[in-house]
């Protein structure tokens, strides 16, 4: 009786609830249609997000980086200290890592040899992931070496390595990189001082907050150093790659949502049919309601409430189902099921629910209007 008492204050809700309870199979089938529609919309939307995240993570952390190298019109051999300082001053809050590079051949006691690229810098932490060893934020004496090269040469942590007559102890192995920018060759990372015979920097890597900030930083650098058509410094960003991927996945998401909407459209046609049938069946009853003084607007509300009920129940069940699908999908595509709960993907659950509700109410409008506007005499005679 408790529930009934509450319902009595909302007669349209009470009537709608009881009416839907009369033909449970039909109600369940109508709800099922909505559930399928919502799952289609929400899980396809989430699939788009999952694909985008997978694509972005394949790019690695590169999108927030830009690489500055000497341009065609530079007067010096490389990027000068002064220029590096200017870059630092121009970009507060951005990590600026000037690098000197060279190539050398390493030979080991086991007779193996390896060609490696030598990079001299002070702060390797943001650029390299180590598989073994701890990452120094300032590299002063030690060396980092690619894991694959270390294996070839039979080197272990703590072993010395010689470059230009100086010895450096190996402090860590660089994990093989994923994504762009890795040429697969061996790398030796040394303190900047090791490459002191080179005056200028070969490149400067900047790491900004995100892709947008990196693009902005690149523009700042180009505007400052490159006057007219001169290219003193050349700046390469990866953000544009990211943008291309984003715009592609946005298109993909829209296409997927379009497919999902079709199934929700089919579901709302089913609701239209169910509501139309049930109001035609109840023609006489509605005539009685009208005869005893129930207003047209009240009939309209009652039937719209029925349609809304189908939408709410279908939407909720559908959203719950989509969440399960989303969790599985993110686990497979992005490797982290919890990402399904992030707003960027979970918002599709909300969209699916809202679509279901709106579609159901829209489908209810015509049957409700038809039932409410039938003349009571005709309705009673037809019963």
């Amino acid at each position: 009786m408790g529930r009934t008492s509450v319902l009595r204050r909302f007669p349209s809700v009470l009537m709608a609830w009881r009416n839907l309870g009369r033909n449970r199979t039909r109600t369940a089938l109508a709800v099922l249609g909505i559930v399928v529609g919502v799952i289609a919309i929400a899980s396809l939307g989430m699939a788009g997000v999952a694909l985008e995240q997978q694509a972005t993570s394949s790019l690695g952390g590169l999108t927030d980086q830009a690489t500055i190298s000497p341009g065609e019109d530079i007067d010096t051999d490389g990027i000068t200290d002064a220029q590096a300082e200017t870059i630092r001053d121009l970009l507060p809050g951005v990590t600026v890592i000037p690098q000197k590079t060279n190539f050398t051949e390493l030979s080991a006691r086991n007779g193996e040899e390896a060609n490696v690229q030598v990079t001299g810098l002070t702060n390797p932490a943001p650029l390299y992931d180590l598989s073994v060893g701890t990452e120094p934020t300032r590299l002063e004496t030690g060396a980092l070496i690619s894991e694959s090269t270390a294996q070839t040469l039979g080197l272990e942590i703590g072993d010395p390595i010689e470059y230009e007559g100086q010895l450096f102890r190996i402090r860590g192995f660089i994990a093989s990189q994923s994504g762009f920018g890795s040429d697969g060759g061996g790398e030796l990372v040394l303190p900047l001082s090791a490459l002191n015979q080179q005056d200028d920097y070969n490149s400067v890597t900047i790491i900004a907050e995100d892709g947008d900030a990196a693009t902005e930083a690149a523009t700042t650098i180009e505007e400052h150093f490159n006057e007219d058509d001169d290219e003193v410094l050349s700046v390469t960003t990866y953000a544009s790659v990211q943008e291309n991927i984003s715009s592609f996945t946005d298109t993909l998401e829209l296409a997927l949502l379009g497919i999902g909407s079709i199934s929700l459209f089919v579901a709302s046609v089913a609701i239209l049919n169910v509501m139309l049938m049930s109001t035609i069946e109840r023609r006489g009853e509605i005539g009685v309601l009208r005869a005893v003084g129930v207003r047209r607007g009240e009939i309209l509300r009652m039937i719209l409430t029925e349609a809304a009920f189908l939408g709410v129940v279908g939407g909720l069940v559908g959203a719950a189902g989509s969440l399960v699908v989303g969790v599985v999908m993110f686990n497979v595509l992005a490797g982290d099921p919890a990402l399904a709960l992030a707003w960027s993907s979970s918002r599709y659950l909300l969209y699916g629910f809202i679509f279901a509700l709106v579609a159901s109410i829209l489908s209810g409008i015509y049957p409700a209007w038809k039932a409410a506007n039938e003349s009571p005499v005709d309705a009673l005679r037809g019963s």
Binding site: R8, P11, S12, L14, M15, R18, N19, G21, R22, G284, E285, V288, L289, R290, A291, V292, G293, V294, R295, R296, E298, S375, P376, V377, L380, S383
Partner: protein, 220 residues
């Protein structure tokens, strides 16, 4: 003064083939505390007449007065308000809603009103028609006579001036019909309402204060 009055009412229906005159210059009235029974063969126009009295249909020509007010030109929404406040209906097939309890069926006409004591009045009315122990039963758990008594209670929930009954005993056996008619007669006196009933049933005529006979759309 008559609580309901038809003056010179004509109702024509246009079909493709011909124009049918269902009511021909009908005059009719009913007073409070009076039971008027309208009889006539089927197709005589008595249902059309009940629709006029019940404000469910409008005349082609002529006038309708409710409590002395000319309501002939009222639109559907205005007539709905009058039905809601002044009229009660009892049908041959009871027309209770199957998914509602007896009590909810009685409340139905005033369900959308934010009237707090309607529930009390509903159970009170069911008590008065002898169904005080059937408040939460649904129609399919009630006999025909019980269902018609629920319908009578429903027709009185809005404290109407007029009770319209369309063959109220048509689907009931003789004895049940008699108890239902006794009920209507008693309530007619207690509530001082006009009862207008159409019927073929001779039994019902015995309860009438006045009988109006209609043949071919003409009141005899």
């Amino acid at each position: 003064m008559s609580v309901i009055q038809l003056r010179d009412v004509v109702k024509r229906y246009n079909t493709e083939a011909e124009t049918i005159e269902a009511l021909k210059n009908v005059d009719f009235y009913a007073n409070r505390g009076e039971m008027v029974v309208v009889t006539g063969p089927s197709g005589s126009g008595k249902s059309t007449m009940l629709n006029m009295i019940g404000l469910l249909d409008t005349p082609t020509t002529g006038e309708i007065f409710l409590d002395g007010r000319n309501i002939t030109d009222f639109d559907e929404d205005e007539r709905t308000e009058e039905r809601r406040s002044q009229l009660g209906f009892v049908f041959q097939d009871f027309h209770l809603l199957p998914m509602l309890t007896a009590e909810e069926n009685v409340e139905l006409p005033s369900m959308w009103d934010t009237d707090v004591d309607r529930r009390e009045r509903a159970s009170d009315l069911l008590e008065r028609v002898g169904l005080g122990d059937r408040l939460t039963h649904t129609p399919d758990e009630l006999s025909g006579g019980q269902q018609q008594r629920v319908a009578i209670a429903r027709s009185l929930i809005n404290e109407p001036d007029i009770l319209l009954a369309d063959e109220p005993t048509g689907n009931l056996d003789q004895d049940t019909g008699k108890t239902v008619l006794d009920e209507i007669t008693r309530l007619k006196q207690e509530e001082n309402i006009a009862v207008v009933s159409i019927t073929h049933d001779e039994q019902l005529v015995e309860y009438a204060d006045r009988v109006v006979r209609i043949v071919d759309g003409v009141v005899q």
